[in-house]
């Protein structure tokens, strides 16, 4: 692993922007903030692959885009595969002397659908084969580009266009989300030496994790929570606030898995009740006490499974 230069404070964060003003993302868009911070951390020698999703459609409307570095579209299905091909091509062309390029940072920016639903196969295969690619799952917890529909990252109890609440289904979404870190970094993909969760609300941590992932030779995975004011239904100015609250209540955990060793990046002193988080978002406004209790039990179990040793709220 090459040594990544770490950023210690906001003051040290690189000035140079590679994700520029001028994109059709929502006011207060969490994923756009993630893109900006990731591009900033990665720097000039970077190629982005953008599978279909909000960060494709909103960023490239129309016949233009906000990236100062090379960017290419991939289908929502094949971000991992297109990334693999690009990486293999650079490796071989450099080896043969056909091009004089320095091997670039190759980053796939997949949404939750493009990472763990329809794009899962390509992502998994890319990691299995050990391509030197950073696979970022920017997680806004729904298929947002199509107008907010459920994905395997949508939390239990959230309303989406495909999971409305009604008398027959009072809790709206019935399933609990997939765990991408367990899927990709739980030992099933031996080439993945580095995986981490991050949040746009912790930008220094996020940027350093990008650099760490890029410094590792081989695939790395980054799961970034990106609050989505449209999909979650909250005022656009609260994006960062909600990302922080998610961590305070345990709807998001910040940790790294480096060579199989888990390390929490930040832990609250105690978890706040999940209800405090649910109240802030329209997508949870229909939930009844029994649903909230079910969600609290899930949060508590997840905290325990991860080994978070802080006081947990009671399940009522």
């Amino acid at each position: 692993m090459a040594v990544a230069e770490m950023i210690k404070s906001i003051a040290q964060a690189p000035e140079k922007e590679y994700y520029l003003p001028g994109h059709r993302t929502c006011a207060g868009c969490g994923p756009a903030l993630a893109y900006r911070l990731i591009a900033k951390a990665a720097g000039k020698n970077t190629i982005f692959i953008g599978p279909t999703g909000c960060m494709y459609v909103a960023n490239t409307s129309y016949a233009c885009g906000p990236w100062a570095v090379p960017w290419t579209h991939a289908q929502i299905t094949n971000g991992g595969a297109v990334g693999s091909g690009i990486e293999a091509a650079f490796k071989m062309m450099i080896k043969k002397g056909k091009i004089q390029d320095e091997f670039p940072n190759i980053i796939v920016m997949a949404g939750d659908g493009g990472a763990i639903d329809i794009g899962l196969q390509a992502a998994s295969a890319m990691m299995y084969r050990g391509h030197d690619v950073l696979f970022v799952m920017y997680d806004n917890e729904s298929y947002a580009n199509t107008g907010i529909q459920t994905s395997p990252a949508t939390p239990y109890g959230a309303t989406t266009m495909f999971t409305p609440a009604g008398p027959e289904i009072p809790e709206a979404k019935k399933f609990f989300p997939k765990d991408p870190m367990a899927l990709f970094c739980g030992g099933g993909h031996p080439e993945v030496k580095y995986g981490a969760t991050a949040s746009v609300s912790y930008p220094i941590d996020l940027m350093n994790k990008v650099r760490k992932g890029l410094a590792y030779e081989g695939p790395a995975f980054l799961h970034v929570q990106c609050p989505c004011p449209k999909g979650w239904t909250f005022p656009a100015d609260r994006t960062v606030e909600l990302g922080k609250l998610a961590v305070e209540v345990g709807m998001w955990f910040l940790y790294e898995l480096e060579n199989g060793v888990k390390k929490f990046s930040y832990t609250p002193k105690k978890l706040k009740p999940v209800e405090e988080y649910l109240q802030t978002q329209g997508r949870f406004s229909h939930l009844q006490p029994e649903h909230i209790a079910k969600l609290q039990a899930w949060v508590n179990a997840k905290a325990q499974n991860l080994g978070l040793e802080v006081p947990l709220p009671p399940v009522r």
Binding site: K44, N45, T46, I47, I49, Y56, V57, T60, S61, Y62, A63, C64, G65, W67, A68, V69, P70, W71, T72, H73, A74, Q75, T77, N78, G80, A81, V82, G83, S84, G85, I86, E87, A88, A89, F90, K91, M92, M93, K95, K96, K98, I99, D101, P104, Q121, A122, S124, A125, Y128, R129
Partner: protein, 415 residues
């Protein structure tokens, strides 16, 4: 020096890929195309080829990997067969629309159901509207030669389109035959290195494949449409140049066999042409003035060539080794395309359809004889008696046995 070799269409294309110094190939196993990848893997392992071989997790990934590699500026290949070809369907248009000239080898295989390894052209024909350029080779030599010509045409800065070297599964992919592997120097003279105008380059950054507004679509599609005319011109020029460099001369679009005085011809593509030529020999001896037109390209469809060639004949029997259920005329894809090509000609021949060789069946001499007999019935009647005939299912003459008897008689007199 060129090397005399013995191998299949698959090893022949592996030779072409080696000579073309491909940078990336993406594999996934499916019969019958698989061995081209095994061949490349061996050559990488023993140092003969310098190429990244990426083991895709399916055909969709294979084509996507090659797409990515091409955007990075690499010469990239892949391949598939049958339902593998259709599994990748989503990405054909993005690759062609992105103007990434990757090359795929398709060894045809019948689409499911049920499981059948034999050759039908349906798999490869399903993607005919996606902007790829392709045609069928009839043997190993032509497979190799096509591969080199396709790289040259597809990577031309005026063209920039992906190509498929198609060949019949088993017949061309699995039957070892003699062919010549050209010399590296010849190939280097014929095929320049791949240098795309745009690639993913941090020093000259570009955005590839952004969203567009509805009214930006038509100009892009117009461009993809008119490039096919440029492809036709390029095919003619490159085929001729190929003949000069390598000494093997091909008809650019349509190979004619014994057509000079023919009043009827078989029209087909791919491996069955070899049996067809042999059958024509016997049919000629039996008094049939029959010949053959073999398509060397399917996309772009050689309509201009057919407009010139077909009016010479009275009956054209189009043999479809594919299915297009419910298509106009009740036959396959070639029938529809051929009829459309000459529909506006005043002196157009009668064009009748045959479906044969499905499921990888060989088209036997007897079946060619039967088709000739039916074409003669058409000739005598002066009209299409039956729109489309599935050979052995709704044949409308009993003449095949007579032809066979005549053939045996000829054989005996030769002895």
């Amino acid at each position: 020096m060129p090397i005399k070799k013995r191998g299949t269409g698959l090893t022949a294309v592996a030779d072409a890929w080696q000579l073309a110094d491909i940078d990336v190939t993406a594999s996934y196993p499916i019969r019958p195309y698989t061995a081209v990848m095994a061949e490349v893997a061996k050559r990488i392992a023993n140092g003969q080829m310098k190429c990244e071989m990426v083991h895709g997790e399916g055909e969709h990934a294979q084509f996507s990997i090659a797409h990515g590699a091409s955007m990075a500026g690499a010469r990239a290949t892949t391949g598939s067969s049958g339902v593998g070809v259709t599994y990748a369907f989503e990405v054909y248009s993005p690759i062609a629309g992105g103007r990434c000239p990757i090359q795929a080898l398709v060894g045809d295989r019948t689409l499911d159901p049920p499981g059948d390894f034999g050759s039908e052209h349906t798999d490869c024909l399903t993607l005919r509207d996606n902007g790829w350029i392709y045609g069928w080779a009839e043997n190993a030599q032509e497979s190799l030669d096509n591969s080199l010509m396709y790289f040259r045409i597809g990577e031309d800065p005026d063209i920039m389109l992906p190509q498929i070297v198609a060949m019949d599964g088993y017949f061309v992919t699995h039957i070892a035959q003699e062919y010549e592997m050209p010399d590296q120097e010849q190939v280097d003279k014929f095929l320049p290195p791949f240098r795309p105008q745009f690639r993913l380059d941090v020093n000259n950054p570009v955005i590839m494949g952004p969203q567009i507004e509805p009214e930006m679509g038509p100009p892009l599609e117009w461009d993809r449409n008119v490039v096919m005319d440029r492809v036709k011109a390029k095919i003619a020029a490159v085929t001729e140049e190929f003949g000069k460099v390598f000494g093997r001369k091909y008809a650019p679009f349509v190979e004619e066999y014994m057509t000079e005085d023919a009043d009827m011809v078989f029209l087909l593509q791919g491996a069955h042409a070899i049996t067809c030529r042999s059958a024509i020999k016997y049919l000629r001896e039996a008094g049939y003035k029959v010949g053959m037109c073999r398509l060397r390209w399917f996309r772009p469809f050689p309509d201009m060539a057919l407009k010139q060639i077909l009016p010479k004949f009275k009956v054209v029997g189009v043999i479809d080794t594919n299915t297009s259920y419910g298509a106009s005329g009740g036959g396959g894809v070639l029938l529809v395309e051929t009829r459309a090509a000459v529909s506006e000609l005043a002196n157009k021949p009668m064009i009748q359809g045959f479906t044969s060789g499905l499921g990888g069946e060989t088209i036997t001499h007897e079946e060619f004889f039967k088709m000739a007999e039916m074409m003669r019935e058409t000739l005598r009647a002066g009209r299409i008696i039956q729109d489309s005939t599935w050979v052995n299912f709704n044949d409308y003459v009993e003449g095949a046995s007579e032809v066979k008897a005549a053939q045996q008689e000829v054989a005996q007199t030769k002895e």
